[in-house]
């Protein structure tokens, strides 16, 4: 049930949110076919966040019609070069990274937030990402920010005691194991494919 509430809340929020439409003229002029996703720079306190985020970007980008470089392979190649974290990778010139991998464009993501705030009865989980897509000649062709929050819906059963118990149960579940992954997946899908920030379709999804 909780999941269903979560689902509908996210979908409603996702469709309703109005964000400024980015200027896509540079993107449309560049017409990239392939996107290299490099490990994210991490401003959150969760050291695992960049690895987890890395697993959530391939699907929405590939479903938009782009060739997405194998993220685990790219991460491994970069590690062999001595780049173990996103901050180091992001200091590299995008042109060099693109040339090394033969990529048309490089996606840089900064994790601003990846945290859970614990209140008495409910936990709010937040993710917040900055995205920057740079063409192989160094031109920035897309830029966006996406923040998503999830806090369990308080369902009113009409009975104060039942409400309290329900909230306590939800809080216990969230506290034991806050799961950021669905929220990160949703943020990526929306910013890439749904919101006004959505990127144009790539060559493998020709119908716009």
């Amino acid at each position: 049930m909780r999941a269903l509430v979560f689902l509908s809340a996210l979908l409603l929020a996702g469709c309703a949110v109005q964000q400024p439409k980015p200027d896509l003229s540079a993107f449309n002029a560049a017409k990239p076919r392939s996107i290299l996703v490099v490990p994210a720079a991490n401003k959150s306190l969760d050291v695992d966040a960049p690895n987890y985020l890395l697993t959530t970007l391939t699907v929405p980008l590939a479903e938009k019609g782009y060739y997405v470089f194998p993220v685990h392979t790219a991460k491994t190649v970069l590690e062999q070069e001595g780049f173990y974290d996103g901050e180091q990778v992001q200091k590299q010139a995008p042109e060099s990274l693109a040339r090394l991998f033969g990529a048309d464009a490089v996606l840089f993501v900064t994790i601003n937030r990846w945290d859970a705030q614990y209140a008495v009865f409910a936990t709010t989980v937040t993710v917040d990402f900055d995205y920057r897509l740079v063409y192989k000649d160094g031109t920035e062709i897309w830029k966006a920010n996406k923040k998503m929050q999830y806090s369990p819906q308080q369902q009113n059963s009409g009975s104060p005691l039942a409400n309290l118990i329900a909230a306590a149960v939800t809080a216990a579940i969230e506290r034991a194991k806050p799961n950021y992954l669905p929220l990160a997946q949703m943020a990526n899908v929306q910013v890439i494919a749904v919101d006004p920030t959505a990127i144009p379709n790539g060559p493998y999804r020709p119908l716009n």
Partner: protein
């Protein structure tokens, strides 16, 4: 829980954008996540990925971008160079955009160098 994510995900892709999926991912993102979250599951997740690719090949379905290559990298890390090379070749054949990286992986058996520095 996995199925809930899948539903959520599909709903987000189709609900607002009203577009069908291009590929059968078979939980690739979840496999990578599992391997990162708990390194003792790397071998099990590698086998799952191999099995999913096998199923797609049998059904003559397109293998999504990156799956062959990431399987190859996992195999290389597990010490199986032959299978790794085979999968790098398959990635290259399926996706011409991958040629530069796959050629480096196939020809050298090692990763390419970045040391040309900033331009």
């Amino acid at each position: 829980m996995r199925s809930i994510f899948a539903v959520l995900f599909a709903a987000a892709l189709t609900g607002c954008a009203a577009k069908g999926g291009l590929y059968n991912w078979g939980g690739y993102d979840g496999m990578l996540y599992g391997a990162y979250k708990d390194p003792t599951t790397v071998a099990a997740n590698m086998q799952k990925l191999e099995a999913h690719i096998g199923k797609l090949e049998q059904g003559k379905q397109k293998v999504p971008p990156g799956l062959y290559a990431d399987l190859g990298t996992m195999q290389l890390q597990a010490g199986d160079r032959e299978k790794a090379q085979m999968n790098f070749r398959k990635e290259r054949e399926s996706w011409p955009e991958s040629a530069t990286l796959m050629d480096a992986l196939i020809n050298n058996g090692v990763m390419p160098k970045t040391k040309e520095g900033k331009s």
